[in-house]
């Protein structure tokens, strides 16, 4: 499926680093729009780059060789459809630190999966290589944050955004910083300080700072940040990022949380669960346990869990645990729904007060091994 709006960034010449003052102001928020920003590897694709052999294979893979994580195409398709049903314009952007040379295969893969998107941004590693910028080759944090902010400035400034990443690199930190920059909680100076501690390359810092300065207005844009626990990083390590960030072990957990937010409907949830059963060997117990885990971690209300269980039960995919008194659970859920209706808000339920200095200090102490964030 072809991109529906903005062209691939990788296909464009790299944006010249403009002067701080010359940066055009960000567009006014598009009221009835929602943007879903996705990381590619380990979030959408089951990319294997743990060994040199696996890394070497990647550029030679065709779209049909690429494997997506179970349930993710169904989730994206559902998000788009549900947004349209709400008369909200959906945008889907992919942001990857992989080189644009794999772009064709990625585009083929997305087409095969029936996933519509509005842009894919790759990291132009070849350019860094040619210019001998070795640090830039390895540097993802500044690159991704800069791309996110530029994309927000140059592309559609949707009123709401949902971000999807994984626990392999620095997505939790990058996405949280991005959300707090948009909300005005992280100023240009504070961002500059944090990136310096993280030893981000100077050019990348300047680019981010200029983008932060160029933000004309601030608002709570980011509803949720979903981190796919591909490495099974203990969820407790993400506590410091607040409840806006939801570590999820599979896409049913992500889907259930989005269902609770009203961004996904029953049909989409059923499709995700069916994909987990068909493609990844899930059974009713596994699906239910996934939901219960999310409830225990405080990311899913018991009433929402009951609703999801009913959806799965009707589809013959799962059901309540043997001991559950469903009638009692439904009564409790109905009461909770009434309470929720009285105080409904689909925006970020709590703006987390993230202690970035602590997180960044720990990060830097570990030698910028961004693979295992510790924000507990």
């Amino acid at each position: 499926m072809p991109p529906t709006a903005a062209p691939d960034r990788a296909a464009m010449p790299p944006a010249a680093a403009p002067d701080r003052a010359a940066m055009p102001p960000a567009a006014a928020p598009e009221r009835a729009a929602i943007t879903f920003r996705w990381d590619l590897d380990k979030t959408y694709l089951r990319t294997q780059f743990e060994s040199l052999r696996q890394m070497v294979k990647i550029p030679f893979e065709a779209g049909s060789d690429k494997v997506h994580l179970p349930g993710v195409p169904q989730l994206i398709r559902g998000l788009r459809r549900c947004a349209k049903d709400r008369a909200e314009r959906p945008y889907v952007f992919f942001l990857s630190a992989s080189p644009p040379q794999i772009g064709n295969a990625i585009r083929q893969k997305l087409e095969l999966d029936g996933v519509e998107y509005d842009g894919i941004m790759f990291k132009d590693q070849l350019r860094h290589l040619v210019r001998g910028r070795w640090r830039s080759l390895r540097e993802h944090l500044g690159y991704k944050l800069g791309e996110l902010l530029d994309s927000r400035r140059a592309g559609p400034a949707a009123r709401r955004e949902v971000l999807f990443g994984d626990d392999w690199e620095s997505d939790p930190l990058i996405y949280s910083m991005y959300a707090d920059i948009l909300a005005g909680r992280l100023t240009a100076d504070a961002t500059d300080g944090l990136l310096r501690v993280l030893e981000v390359e100077r050019g990348a810092i300047a680019r981010v700072v200029r983008a932060v300065d160029a933000l004309a207005q601030h608002s709570e844009v980011v509803l949720r940040i979903y981190i796919n626990l591909e490495r099974r990083t203990p969820p407790g390590r993400f506590h410091g990022f607040g409840s806006r960030l939801v570590p999820a072990f599979n896409y049913l957990q992500t889907g259930a949380s989005l269902h609770q937010l009203g961004l996904l409907d029953d049909t989409a949830l059923r499709a995700i669960a069916s994909a987990l059963v068909a493609d990844a060997g899930y059974n009713g117990d596994r699906l239910r346990n996934s939901l219960d885990d999310l409830v225990r971690r405080g990311h899913l209300r018991p009433s929402s869990r009951t609703r999801v269980i009913r959806v799965l039960q009707r589809a013959g995919l799962s059901g309540p645990a043997p001991h559950e008194a469903m009638v009692r659970a439904r009564l409790a859920a109905a009461f909770e729904r009434l309470q929720a209706r009285w105080s409904r808000s689909v925006g970020p339920v709590d703006a987390p007060a993230i202690d970035y200095e602590k997180i960044v200090r720990e990060w830097a102490d570990r030698g910028a091994d961004a693979s295992s964030p510790s924000a507990s």
Binding site: R232, T233, P234, P235, G236, H239, F249, N250, Y282, D285, R286, L287, R288, N289, S290, D292, D293, R296, R297, A321, P322, H323
Partner: protein
């Protein structure tokens, strides 16, 4: 796939090591586990390490029976104790087996209260594995001793039933085609040990499905002479604790000796691999658990000081016992000697 109810609050190191053990098992197997205990504490512990949430569910309950608590009183007053809830789940068919590292008396009583005895079985027996020498290649390095505390005194019929149950268990779980069964006694002659043991000897000789090797003396327990050793609970428990104590004493003596003399220190350093092997062999915490045999449902009792790997192993033993249909196997064996 079997579903195992795990008493999260039972054991000297509970709930920390129990929850960690379940988390480890969730990453290494496809066994469904239900952690029974205080859900907030359980989730906080899960959050701290890697786990697979798809294989773990939590059944909240508010109470736990302490290791030093009177089991009768504990079970009577704490209806919502984790060990009782786990046993009730198994009895109700919500789980296929239970694992507990908690109060042994409470485990036996909870099982007795909630599980049905296999038809024909007079008393249940608590089994335990113990390290031993092996006599031939491929022989299991662990022997099975029962009873080690579910009973105090037994009659000859009960001891014979223990022999049959232990033999069936070893056949299924340890994959010993024809386990050798011995009767713990004070001498190898048939006439030794008083009326009960003499009568038990005669009875154990009879069933063709038992490979009875006769009386086993104390010094033969840790040799590979018998795969299954039968004793009444009082005696079995003393022997088990003695083996456990010897391992600890050997390690302590070696450590002290090394502190006293530099010659010993050098010697101990040279023997360190061997000593570490002895310590590992005698470390009951690493073995997982052993079953309470005689009930239609399965209860695996892990050592009270079980660490996470031991809990993980106990869960695997429980799953294996379910998969290998231990209880029907025992029921069949008991029916044959009736």
């Amino acid at each position: 796939m079997p579903r195992i109810a795990v008493d999260a609050m039972g054991g000297d190191l509970a709930p920390d090591e129990i929850v960690r053990g379940v988390a480890q098992a969730s990453l290494e197997s496809d066994i469904q586990m239900v952690l029974v205990g205080a859900s907030d504490r359980i989730q906080a512990l899960l959050d701290a390490g890697p786990y697979n949430p798809e294989l773990i569910s939590v059944r909240h309950c508010s109470a736990a029976i302490g290791m030093a608590e009177d089991p009768h009183e504990g079970l009577r007053t704490k209806k919502d104790a984790s060990i009782s809830v786990a046993a009730r789940m198994v009895a109700a068919g919500e789980a296929d087996a239970m694992v507990t590292a908690g109060n042994t008396g409470a485990a036996v009583l909870a099982a007795a209260k909630n599980f049905k005895l296999i038809r024909g079985v007079k008393k249940a027996a608590l089994a335990s594995v113990f390290p031993r020498q092996t006599e031939y290649p491929g022989q299991d390095a662990l022997g099975l001793l029962l009873d080690v505390g579910a009973t105090i005194r037994c009659d000859a019929i009960e001891l014979t039933q223990f022999a049959v149950m232990g033999s069936a268990y070893a056949r299924r779980v340890s994959k010993v085609a024809r386990p050798r069964v011995g009767l713990l006694n004070m001498g190898s002659e048939e006439s030794k040990g008083g009326d009960v043991l003499v009568e038990a000897y005669k009875r154990m000789k009879a069933p063709p499905q038992l490979d009875f090797v006769g009386n086993v003396e104390g010094n033969d327990v840790t040799t590979g002479k018998a795969d299954v050793i039968v004793a009444e609970g009082l005696l079995g428990n003393v022997v088990l604790k003695l083996i456990e104590g010897i391992g600890e004493v050997a390690t302590t003596v070696a450590t002290h000796a090394a502190q006293d003399s530099w010659r010993w220190r050098i010697g101990m350093a040279m023997l360190s691999t061997g000593i570490s092997r002895i310590r590992d062999l005698a470390d009951f915490r690493s073995y997982g658990g052993a079953p309470i045999l005689g009930f239609e449902s399965i209860c695996i009792k892990a050592h009270g000081r079980s660490t996470a790997p031991a809990v993980k192993n106990a869960i695997k033993v429980a799953a294996k016992a379910v998969r290998d249909r231990i209880s029907p196997e025992i029921a069949e064996a008991i029916a044959e000697i009736r």
